[in-house]
């Protein structure tokens, strides 16, 4: 396996100077990073002189509408309103108070929102009761009530109709996976392309064994409820079996206690499967800390002290990804990384020998196990992905043809594009 060359110090220093020169104007000027700050009403009304300028009463809001929140479990009514533009006194409104009443009741407040808001969700409504709402504009000099909204009744729905396309795609996907799983069970040959990162797993463990140095497996910083962590744990099982067979040391520092217990069980089972249960060290899977950078410092420390030959960075990573990967690179370890976080992938690509990109991480357990049933699920996934690609291409063609050759928005192409967009957009 080839390894990147050591950086030339002079050129590296020049690059650092260049990067610093680029960032100095931004840091000193501050304009690029400073967010424009809007003044709150309390700041505008900071002096008695200002208060004297406030009109007698704030303007009333208009177009108050109340409606049941669609596709919910009930008990929710949304209230919206508008503020008349260019009305004197609008700038002095400090809050909107929302009042609610049922027939025969007096209006009572149910909540308030800042003056920038134009909507409120009442979560205390009872299903089946008719309510009307009044929006009160509040300013330091008093308040003004709006006209009451129309009647609204909260209700629960049995099916979220807006999620029907998701249901359709889910059913298609499940059917595709089950179809290919059945085909695989029937003995059909399924071709799966080579994934270099996964092919290198056994080589990396073998090399660590030859060098007499440990294998470090980092399963990310998320909890076990994160699917990326689960994917990492399935790969851990495979790596632990190899490690147990070769008699290499395995180090698994974790950031979550539940991941720790799960990983301990997986590693113990792998050693048992390899007939090396006596060699299993419960301390090999160790909890460090839940704190992101505390964990990073801990793993970096393990890398520098133990100098593992093979480093696996698989799971969910955030800002710590490059710190870990660069430390691994600095100690000269073979690094295999993988995450579904697109923002962290470039760091792994730059610093690691092999990177599992997105779906490859989730395909790893199927790929490594080579069980036909598992491979069948990968084929089903590929079919769904191809279908999505076809839908995207179809949308692109229909939308482009409609915009270029039939402008106006009423053509078949425009309507077809709108339908596709509303379904899958």
């Amino acid at each position: 396996m080839t390894r990147p060359e050591t950086p030339d110090r002079t050129r590296f220093g020049l690059l650092m100077v260049f990067v610093m020169l680029l960032t100095i104007p931004a840091l000193t000027g501050g304009d690029s990073f400073a967010r424009p700050r809007s003044l709150a009403t309390s700041e505008i009304l900071s002096s008695p002189t200002d208060l004297a300028m406030v009109p007698v009463l704030p303007p009333a809001v208009c177009t108050v509408q109340a409606a049941d929140v669609p596709e919910d479990g009930g008990g929710l009514i949304s209230v919206t309103w508008e503020v008349p533009e260019d009305t004197p006194g609008t700038e002095f409104i400090t809050a909107f108070e929302i009042l609610r009443y049922a027939p025969g009741e007096t209006p009572a407040p149910v909540g308030d929102v800042p003056p920038t808001d134009r909507a409120f969700e009442d979560g205390s409504a009872e299903d089946g009761t008719t309510y009307q709402y009044i929006v009160r504009s509040v300013s330091p000099s008093g308040f003004t009530d709006s006209e009451p909204s129309g009647p609204a009744v909260a209700s629960a729905q049995w099916f979220a109709r807006g999620r029907f396309p998701v249901l359709l795609v889910t059913l298609f996907f499940c059917t595709a996976v089950l179809f290919f799983v059945q085909r695989a069970k029937g003995g059909a040959e399924l071709f799966i392309r080579k994934i270099p990162g996964l092919e290198a797993v056994d080589d990396a463990v073998g090399r660590a064994t030859e060098m007499g140095r440990p294998v470090l497996f980092v399963p990310g910083i998320e909890t076990v409820s994160e699917v990326g962590t689960l994917a990492a744990l399935t790969i851990l099982g495979h790596v632990a079996r190899r490690v147990a067979t070769h008699g290499t040391r395995l180090l698994v520092p974790v950031a979550d206690p539940i991941v720790m217990t799960t990983a301990q069980e997986i590693v113990r089972a792998a050693y048992a499967e390899a007939g090396q249960l006596d060699a299993y060290d419960p301390g090999s899977v160790a909890y460090l800390t839940y704190d992101q950078f505390g964990y990073t410092a801990g793993v970096d420390g393990i890398m520098v002290r133990e100098r593992p030959e093979a480093v696996f960075l698989l799971g969910t990573f955030y800002a710590e990804s490059l710190i870990l990967a660069e430390t691994g690179h600095a100690i000269g370890a073979i690094q295999i990384a993988g995450t579904k976080e697109t923002s962290q992938l470039p760091f792994f690509v730059a610093a690691c020998d092999y990177t599992l990109i997105g779906e490859e991480l989730f395909a790893a357990s199927s790929y490594l196990s080579r069980e036909p049933v598992m491979l069948g699920s990968l084929k089903g996934q590929d079919l769904t992905k191809m279908t999505i690609v076809y839908v995207i291409v179809l949308g692109f063609v229909v939308g482009t043809v409609g915009a270029l050759f039939f402008p106006g928005g009423n053509s078949f192409f425009s309507r077809a594009f709108d339908a596709l967009y509303s379904w899958f957009g």
């Binding site: 479990g73 399935t234 505390g294 410092a297 660069e326 395909a363 196990s369």
Partner: protein, 210 residues
């Protein structure tokens, strides 16, 4: 039996959670929130397991006088001191998170600067990783280098001062090729995650059960 019960629990939990995504009506609508509360409770207790593991590992290192025992001692002392100041803060102010509490002092002047220090290291690591990634070894690497230079120049004021081409070009690179690639990866990853979840729900994927 040892495997069947966990598989059944996994399948039923997953199935009802999928149903709750499409059925907002009670009893399904709030199911996810309820299960998240359960998960938080289990996680809270599991934290004790983590602390126990940490304590045992470092205590063993100190007792057996292994290399790095002084680091272990510092870690255990920090753990005990943080716990103690938390209890003192609770006893004195009613909450360890009160701004006058000694726990908040430790947090503000100990933990936050340490976290910031680790995060700050990222700047240097980005520089060294960029240096390797941007070497023009072949056509693809050269393309990467050129794009990176345009994006970097386009995002700082000096780029716009040199030419208006840089801000416009960097915006195009980020909005078109970069976003297209990112979305492709995201769609693949999302389908991979769903596929894996399905394998777990159907009991095809069992390696996590050991």
């Amino acid at each position: 039996m040892k495997r069947t019960v966990p598989l059944l629990i996994t399948f039923l939990t997953g199935f009802f959670l999928i149903v709750s995504f499409f059925v907002p009506h009670e009893p399904f609508g709030q199911l996810e929130q309820r299960l998240l509360v359960w998960f938080a409770i289990v996680s809270g207790f599991a934290m004790l397991l983590g602390v126990d593991s940490l304590f045992r590992a470092h205590l063993k290192r100190i007792i057996r006088a292994r290399e790095g025992r002084w680091h272990s001692l510092a870690l255990l002392l920090s753990l005990v001191v943080t716990l103690a100041v938390g209890i003192i803060g609770f006893a004195k102010f009613g909450s360890p998170f009160h701004m006058q509490s000694p726990f908040m002092f430790v947090y503000t002047y100990g933990i936050i600067p340490l976290q910031a220090t680790m995060f700050a290291l990222l700047a240097f690591y980005i520089a060294s990783a960029s240096y390797r990634a941007f070497r023009a070894r072949n056509t693809v690497a050269t393309l990467l280098l050129v794009s990176a230079v345009i994006v970097m120049l386009g995002r700082v004021p000096i780029g716009a001062a040199i030419s208006q081409f840089f801000p416009v070009a960097q915006e195009w690179i980020m909005d078109v090729p970069q976003l297209a690639a990112k979305r492709g990866i995201q769609i693949g990853a999302a389908l991979g995650a769903v596929s894996m979840s399905l394998r777990i729900l159907l009991g095809i994927e069992r390696s996590y059960l050991s």
